[in-house]
Amino acid sequence: MKTNQARSQVDHGGQVQQLVEGIADEACIGLFEAYGVALERVPPLSAPDHDVLYSGVIGFSGPRMRGMCVLAATETPIRRSNPIEGPLNDWVAELSNQLAGRMKNKLLSYGADVYLTTPVVLRGEHLAPIPNRQQLPLAYALPGGGVFLWIEFDLDDGMSLSPGSGTAAASEGDALLFF
């Protein structure tokens, strides 16, 4: 039987997860859009899962918080978003890095100051992480392919994320010159 404290921690964790997934959702759609690929959010099980998947994994860690982000996609969205005709595995790593960067910059405004690991790329069929929680990925469809996003984010007891409690960050495409 769970104690009241344990129940409130689960609720708290669920709220944090929901918040971070919302941030990840916005970041993922914005990232692909920036590279000319429109994604449509779909229920996870309706997205294709039989193509070869490329996956980029990035870890988050900060004071009393940690998490991970797995960006997986079929070849089509990776190839279409690639600004040059270069190796797809390298581009998956960079996309994962830019996705995590967008999330980090947004999380800063909630008072979460996290450090990003460098990305690790995997390639294979039917890849899926084994998260601490039972969860389905965020899923997106586009003609001829799919994108999947697993997000996990945990705070220690007593930590919380509040809008406006942190600092604003520079946004994607911003150019600051110091003269």
Binding site: A34, I84, G86, P87, E94, T118, S171, E172, A175, F178
Partner: protein
């Protein structure tokens, strides 16, 4: 003309930046991380500017910037950070170390080339 050193662990980004620089009339030298970048600045005299990522394995871009700028000969070498990071404390740290600019990815090629032109010809 002096060349632009592009330090990024992503070959795609190096190639993308290289293409933009070529279209702007500049030549590029590549480095894959901070250690490689610092070594090339120390050994190649024709580097006139640096475009530098932050999150890289080994030595990251901020560490490389601080290391390179400790050497007097590099004091006037212009450096632009090109990164996914937008955290103001990092931007301030780079500025204090001597960076001349900070661009958050994804970048607009024409904006990057305009900044390079302004700094390398200054």
């Amino acid at each position: 003309m002096k060349k632009v050193l592009v330090v990024d662990d992503s070959a795609t980004v190096r190639q993308q930046v290289g293409l933009a620089l070529k279209q702007g009339g500049f030549e590029m030298i590549e480095a894959t991380d901070g250690l490689d970048g610092a070594a090339k600045i120390g050994s190649l005299p024709d580097i006139g500017m640096v475009i530098l990522d932050v999150n890289m394995p080994g030595m990251n871009g901020i560490e490389m910037l601080e290391k390179v700028k400790q050497i007097e000969a590099n004091a006037s070498l212009p450096v632009i950070m090109l990164t996914t990071e937008g955290q103001h404390s990092l931007i301030e740290r780079a500025k204090k170390a001597g960076a001349k600019g900070w661009i958050v990815k994804p970048f607009k090629p024409e904006l990057l080339v305009a900044a390079v032109r302004k700094l390398i010809l200054a």
